[in-house]
Symmetry: C2
């Protein structure tokens, strides 16, 4: 896919990523390092707890989402450089889920002070194989004007 | 540290985590998996690019922040279950940075419909060894009333 510059983006534009299947081993390995809580690391404890079964760390879902965006979801020239955004997890990511990211451009904002750049605001919904949304990320990303 | 329930939280309460030192190997390993872009994976390419040197993925900073909160930063009874929030990265996390999370309770909100639970809103600033803020996360977390 061609790399996109500020001029190439428009409100309403949509992008769909490739998919990634998550499994219990990935969930536990990520959690052991970054989110060591029983509902992310142990099936039996998870079954008895709030999530009623093993659930991925929200930060794991976020990281997989980034991976999908970088590899296939959003071809920004010069790379995906995020300034920040809003994130929510309406439902847990489960072992076996096949995740895919659907992104929509909400705003395109040229920089007032720096003519060579701008920002885009992108809403990225991460869905599982049933089309259920496991994460909504609205992020502001740096984009460059064509050189 | 004692585990805290809804009744134990109050606006303005502060928590400080332990520290975690990040290095180039951690940055590259995380990025190879979740954010494979040259400014996160390759020193020379990073030096020539936007960040002027190797920088951690923002999602890596977020994941380390979660790790610090879970292990030492915020002792919520029943665990840290986030519904979402706002995140920003005012400056990059660099190899050698020693990260620490300072959290402040912004709001304590009992549930109207479910008397056994509530939400707290927490602002967590992740700082490096120079006191510079590398991430601001304002998150909504589930808390339980005392049984």
């Amino acid at each position: 896919m061609a790399e996109l510059y500020l001029e190439d983006f428009s409100v309403g534009q949509r992008f769909i990523s490739a998919t990634h299947q998550i499994d219990a081993d990935q969930i536990k390995a990520f959690a052991a390092r970054f989110d060591p809580q029983p509902f992310h690391t142990d099936e039996a404890a998870a079954q008895a707890g709030f999530f009623r079964g093993l659930a991925a760390s929200g930060w794991h879902t976020a990281s997989i989402t980034m991976s999908l965006l970088v590899r296939s979801g959003m071809p920004i020239a010069g790379g995906l450089i995020g300034a920040g955004g809003e994130i929510s997890w309406p439902r847990p990511t489960r072992p076996g889920d096949v995740l895919q990211v659907e992104s929509e451009v909400l705003a395109v904002t040229p920089s007032r002070s720096r003519p060579e750049r701008g920002m885009i605001t992108v809403k990225s919904e991460t869905k599982n194989q049933n089309g259920e949304i496991v994460q909504i990320l609205t992020s502001r990303m740096l984009v460059w004007r064509k050189p």
